[in-house]
């Protein structure tokens, strides 16, 4: 996605009309992949991720097994058609780094000690990219793991926060992501108030960073409520239910309070 010299904030609102602390419309659906032990599909605006979880299952080759606990493998991948310019299939350095950071977002959360010598495989595919892909993937992965029955301390909720045109914002879309002064990816255990992933690029003062962390914490809590509702709703009704967040309205109501 191209860089732009245009302003990203016009008339006190972002280019897509959102307030500064407003999340994009969110959809969440579980059991998106029938073959997987657990799966979920999540979208934040035009960014869409689908995740399958397999396991715990036997880990081969055996030398990779750990006697004391299971391991987790996380693969983040962008589909070739996900961006405006086609992405060559195959591993990229960015994909490798994001995979590692995402895996570490879940390591403290899953009870891997309960499953020695096994592996939990998490496959995240970004189908459509419009900013904040890794956190969208993590939100879906968290739900997929819960549905698969992987024991966890909590769900994991993730969001992006950052700075555009001097203004601190939440949930960066593509154009904001590419033109931001700073962008931060945060993943948390929402009910425990603990951070499991933190990455940042850009230029921020210490105070700006600390404010952004607080914004991330609040938004992760909102996202958690949506994840919880989406999972529980699916068990109330048949077959799959898409839990559509009324985030935009809620945010507008809150924004009007300043």
């Amino acid at each position: 996605m191209a860089k732009t010299n245009d302003k990203l904030i016009v008339g006190g609102k972002r280019l897509d009309g959102r307030g500064f602390d407003e999340l994009r419309p969110i959809t969440m659906r579980i059991r998106a992949v029938e073959k997987a032990d657990g799966s979920a599909q999540v979208s934040f605006g035009d960014t869409e991720a689908i995740v399958s979880v397999y396991g715990p299952r036997k880990l081969y080759p055996r030398f990779l097994q750990e006697n004391e606990r299971g391991i987790m493998r996380y693969r983040y991948n962008m589909a070739p058609f996900s961006c405006t310019d086609r992405i060559s299939p195959g591993k990229s350095r960015r994909g490798i780094e994001i995979s590692k950071a995402s895996r570490l977002a879940f390591e403290p959360v899953a009870f891997l000690d309960d499953f020695p010598t096994t592996v939990v495989d998490v496959f995240t595919e970004i189908l459509q990219a419009d900013g904040s892909t890794r956190v969208t993937g993590i939100n879906a992965a968290s739900m997929a793991m819960a549905v698969a029955g992987v024991p966890m301390r909590d769900l994991v909720a993730a969001c992006s926060v950052g700075k555009i045109d001097g203004q601190l914002i939440a949930d960066l879309n593509g154009i904001e992501d590419n033109n931001s002064e700073a962008d931060v990816a945060v993943a948390m255990m929402p009910t425990k108030d603990r951070i499991t992933m933190l990455q940042m690029d850009g230029v921020l003062t210490k105070d700006e960073l600390f404010t952004l962390l607080q914004m991330a914490r609040e938004n992760c809590r909102k996202i958690y409520e949506l994840q919880k509702a989406a999972i529980k709703d699916s068990f109330k009704q048949q077959p799959d239910v898409t839990a559509v967040a009324e985030a935009a309205e809620e945010e507008a109501a809150k924004e009007s309070q300043g």
């Binding site: 490798i96 995979s99 950071a101 603990r194 951070i195 600390f210």
Partner: protein
């Protein structure tokens, strides 16, 4: 598996009698690789990293037609540690390269526009190659010091009819900012800096913070398999900021 290093650290002791926030002995040398346009080595205790900068000519990206390119790569060479295997960079080497890259890039340490040769057609490509020589912990901090020093050592070769005249330089690379990367570690409820490998193996969490000379934060990367509180993050960031000034003094002009 917790080892003796763990027992020491939770009692505020290091394996080598340092303070918890003390770096090991640091030695930075520049201009050590003859065929590189810029080079430096950093020895941090027993951890040793060599960085070479090679410049080449390439085409700019379509959205930045008048800017040069930076490519950072890291090799975890098998001679450096019994844990390193040969082959293409694994996730740790990839992560290290990208974290060093972000510290340099986001802090705007270099003005990429000055690396333009012909707008839209030809620009300088800077390959910063990080070669781990000995792994005794804290590779990122050591590699970053070496990389920034190598950039400060880099000279831009003369161009004659589009051919690079190696060994013949026209100018020095302008390094306009001095970011430092400090990795702060947490084990149980203790914080420490610059872990030796044995200490690094038992830490729960690490946070690498890139700090510019104006105290801006330019990059953050959390590593490690444990979770932290927001207060922990704040503390680690402040510790990194305080330490970075001390380390920056090593980067003489």
């Amino acid at each position: 598996m917790k080892t003796y290093a763990y027992d020491l650290l939770v009692n505020d002791k290091r394996i080598d009698e340092r303070a918890m926030d003390e770096y090991r002995d640091i030695e930075l040398k520049r201009g050590i690789i003859k065929n590189a346009e810029g080079s430096a080595s950093c020895r941090l205790g027993n951890t040793k990293v060599i960085v070479g900068v090679k410049m080449g000519i390439g085409t700019p990206f379509s959205d930045t037609p008048d800017e040069g390119n930076l490519i950072v790569n890291a090799e975890f060479t098998p001679l450096a540690s019994p844990e390193f295997e040969g082959g293409p960079p694994g996730e740790d080497a990839t992560e290290l390269a990208r974290v060093v890259d972000r510290g340099i890039r986001e802090s705007e340490a270099m003005d990429f526009k000055k690396l333009c040769i012909t707008s839209g057609e030809k620009v300088w490509m800077m390959n910063v190659d990080i070669h781990i020589i000995n792994h005794d912990g804290n590779l990122i901090d050591c590699a970053f010091l070496a990389a920034l020093s190598a950039l400060m050592d880099t000279k831009i070769p003369k161009l004659q009819d589009d051919k690079i005249m190696r060994g013949d330089y026209e100018s020095e690379l302008a390094v306009q900012h001095k970011p430092i990367e400090v990795t702060v570690c947490k084990v149980a409820d203790k914080f420490l800096l610059d872990p030796a490998k044995e200490e690094e193996d038992v830490v729960d969490t690490k946070l690498t913070v890139a700090v510019r000379e104006d105290d801006s934060i330019c990059a953050l990367q959390k590593q490690g398999a444990k979770d932290v509180s927001i207060d922990d993050i704040k503390r680690m960031v402040e510790t990194a900021m305080a330490k970075s000034a001390e380390l920056r003094k090593l980067l003489k002009e």
